[in-house]
Symmetry: D2
Subunit: 324 residues, 4 copies
Amino acid sequence: MKRIGVFTSGGDAPGMNACIRAVVRGAVYHGIEVYGIRRGYNGMINGEMSKMDSHSVSNIVQRGGTILKSARSKEFMTPEGRKKAYANLMDLGIEGLVAIGGNGTFTGAMIFGNEYGIPTVGAPGTIDNDLYGTDYTIGFDTAVNTALDAIDRIRDTASSHDRIFFIEVMGRDSGYIAVQSGIAGGAELVMVPEVLTPISEVVETLKQGWSRSKSSSIIIVAEGDEEGSAQEVADKIKRQVSEDADIRVTTLGHTQRGGPPSAYDRILASRLGLGALEGLMAGQKNVMAGIINNDLVYTPFEDTIRLPKPINEDLLRMVKILSV
Amino acid sequence: MKRIGVFTSGGDAPGMNACIRAVVRGAVYHGIEVYGIRRGYNGMINGEMSKMDSHSVSNIVQRGGTILKSARSKEFMTPEGRKKAYANLMDLGIEGLVAIGGNGTFTGAMIFGNEYGIPTVGAPGTIDNDLYGTDYTIGFDTAVNTALDAIDRIRDTASSHDRIFFIEVMGRDSGYIAVQSGIAGGAELVMVPEVLTPISEVVETLKQGWSRSKSSSIIIVAEGDEEGSAQEVADKIKRQVSEDADIRVTTLGHTQRGGPPSAYDRILASRLGLGALEGLMAGQKNVMAGIINNDLVYTPFEDTIRLPKPINEDLLRMVKILSV
Amino acid sequence: MKRIGVFTSGGDAPGMNACIRAVVRGAVYHGIEVYGIRRGYNGMINGEMSKMDSHSVSNIVQRGGTILKSARSKEFMTPEGRKKAYANLMDLGIEGLVAIGGNGTFTGAMIFGNEYGIPTVGAPGTIDNDLYGTDYTIGFDTAVNTALDAIDRIRDTASSHDRIFFIEVMGRDSGYIAVQSGIAGGAELVMVPEVLTPISEVVETLKQGWSRSKSSSIIIVAEGDEEGSAQEVADKIKRQVSEDADIRVTTLGHTQRGGPPSAYDRILASRLGLGALEGLMAGQKNVMAGIINNDLVYTPFEDTIRLPKPINEDLLRMVKILSV
Amino acid sequence: MKRIGVFTSGGDAPGMNACIRAVVRGAVYHGIEVYGIRRGYNGMINGEMSKMDSHSVSNIVQRGGTILKSARSKEFMTPEGRKKAYANLMDLGIEGLVAIGGNGTFTGAMIFGNEYGIPTVGAPGTIDNDLYGTDYTIGFDTAVNTALDAIDRIRDTASSHDRIFFIEVMGRDSGYIAVQSGIAGGAELVMVPEVLTPISEVVETLKQGWSRSKSSSIIIVAEGDEEGSAQEVADKIKRQVSEDADIRVTTLGHTQRGGPPSAYDRILASRLGLGALEGLMAGQKNVMAGIINNDLVYTPFEDTIRLPKPINEDLLRMVKILSV
């Protein structure tokens, strides 16, 4: 393999730049040419590709976002779009791809690979940590720490005013950010998509807290919780307890996506970027590089897309014990 | 004056603890006894007061929130409530008060002072910086930096995805947080309660940006803007430009109230706490201590409550120039 | 087991408070009484122990340091000291101990356990990550992120001035902090106690960088490196390259020990605190609770003390590739 | 004036990029061409100058360091050097300069202006805040907050171990960083170049603290203190009190120079950059733009270089009261 392309796709995540850097520097190290493709599959279709060298990735390891920009591409979902993309890659002599993104990204790569035979190795870049085939995804640790910083700030106010706060964190299908930021933030309860926490249980928890003179409480709600958004949950609670209860809601939103990546994310991203590149060089294709139990593993896109990643029930149990 | 009380009231603000510390340590230094009153006027009414010494305020200068807790008190708005409060203060022999809070706090203190003659000196503690009689209020600088940190994170995502972001910051009647975080965050536009920015101007700004190939934009909306919340503004814009425009909204919310105070806020809080105490000792009453042009000044509560604090028009002009 | 004690000993580490909290809340949850012992073994000897309940550990999960304070105890190294300690524990009816600390702490506990039969389960609290029996120790992730934040700041200056910086991080016998902060910080080279990097290799790396027009370089030196402190290494280099080379040295020092623990450290500390407690309840003794490959394991103190924890050679290889 | 140049010189400071951005965007706004000169006076001599437009300064407002790089130039101190520099400026038709830096920078500009008549307006960029003619310099607020963050971390350890810490902060001739970070960090004592604090007074303060059962203490030493470095002061103290005293030393070093600028610094830098530009346009020369009591003022280089900036004695008094 003499020439490869690298791109980021889907929602951006802190650490994507560290991953791009590892792919590029690794390629330079191994004597392979590397092209950066801008705006994900859109750039492949529109020919937004340019050669990168060691300097192209200087001073980016600490930056959030992605210097290659990211996008979701409707055109790549059509055969015509993929045809154009393939033609562009062939023009440049690109023989393989490293795709940094999530399941949407890998689905595109799998279809593309099946149609045109171009090998892709993926690196899991998404703050949600909802990908089978790796213990953690790039961006997750930073997102949890960003959420945690916000929770710490809100706790200052909650305990100064004896208030109850419902804080909504990201995670449409996955409670990972909620559980980890909840444990670390000393939350009284964590509501996640994977396990239903009925409103009655929330009320019960709050009442138990009051009976033990807990004056303030923090409840973390994952975006995708079945009982609704943090605001909806808070409204339901208010109706059941009392209008006197000083209940507030904060939705952390997009702040969780950005910021300088944590040490963990930079190292993970570097390992996975290098792992994806070296996998591609060794003949891997249509697989995602992941780290499981500290070992580099390759999982077929088919599995990362299809298989669910269960949440750690031990951690949910821990929330209960620690909020006693 | 041999014995005084100190309390925090209204919304909490980072630096309130540094201010309490300065009052207590200052009192110890000057040989005056000091009582901490918990939960604002409620604690005065319910007798939640206890003696503080130098150790009571150890290791709090760096903490957000307020160790004395804060609350809004309906009972203190009644003559009966104030009567109880006065009786409790008399029981303990408290001869003067330092009140840390905003206009609601000072209004209560003024009425109380007029009725019972007990002198109060205020220290301006509110993140909104909406108090006449001081250049900056305690908590403002921290709130701006917290908002800025969020804006920086969101810019990572905005520029990775070529998106437009509307970010709502606190400030029901005041655009101070919006203007300062907007300039510091490199925002394209800042919408504040003091000056109407019509939707048409927002649209115009966005279009000008696109014509200069600005691919991402950040617009800061103060909570109290006349065009509505950030979500409402974004909805209006979307209707006028295009449904294709990738527009997102984030409301920063209560995270802006908490967190370790910045150096500026700790120093300001220390100066104002000490200034309030020493003013009280020197016979001041019904005034707020403030810093104007680096000098300590005392302004009658009447004025801090009644007079508006105009926003700096130069800064608004600067937003326009810097987003060229 | 009806009553236990918990203490922190040796150098403090961020997350110790989260660990104390998990032990205390876990004990309350399981209906066990728990005493907090202050200042490590000294407090055991001097009888500085008091009962803790759920409220005792409120609002500490986010704080660096240790509310139980820590110390190294010379007296506990004597039979007389341990005798006093045992008598004090017996007086209170304490049947088991959770010890949060490093190898010094565990050595003391092992001797004490052998002499008096009192069971201790340890939780690894040390920023150095130099303990066999766990993938990571409490405080390590925070220390790496603190070092990384400093490296990021210094890089701003290094690249503004085309300078070479030698940055010394903690790690007397272990290069873990150096390697992780070095990879994450984009360092050109990392010098660790486990593997000798001769001065000639440092010079070679710098020269290669210059030949590729790298204008600034960052080299991380672990405290315990054989070539000496960062200052000594820098002096040697200066003699070999040129007095014109703009070389600076910064020693990060004790800032690496403090600060609010990262999410990772709070969760790890919570798991290990609870794991130590539940191990003790289940009859474990003279073992340290650790997390290996995401599973809770107990390793005899004997092994944690005796066995070396090798550094990950893959990571050292990665430093080279990524600085190409 | 149709074409100007902008450069940074001397030690870098956080906010320099925000200042460059304000100069460039301001120039675009006013229809003036602007050239960026790299590496300070060296780039003027070597012809490292290139045209900047609005995009050149996108996404830099939040970055530490300076994108134009900085250096100290020996060659510019010679008439030959300045001659070359002038010739290069003339070749490009540059009619005026904005110089961002400190006294060394302004001294060069003054001599250059006197020799060749080219007008320069300065913007004060230095973390030390040691420039007459402005209340604060660009970078100072960030440096204080960086020092403060380190002090907060060290306090965790100091109070966990009942230790005394001597922390050295930057400030060769000026105690501003020391005083502000000392007050904000709750230090027991602050030692500054402007006012001698004899060792005996340090000892006295420590002893008084012990007599009031203060178990830990933090003493801030400015780099340029007459009693020596923090290490030297600590050694002297140790000899006078006791070898048992658990005294540690940390020198914060270059971390104080970098990092994302605070809100305050970004706004100050924007105002001063714009102020320098608009001053230049209005015919000012050989002056520094500054902000005094919130007003923009221009002070002749002669005065900024010659006149001392006294330290605020009130703040020193406050350290004493607050550490009671």
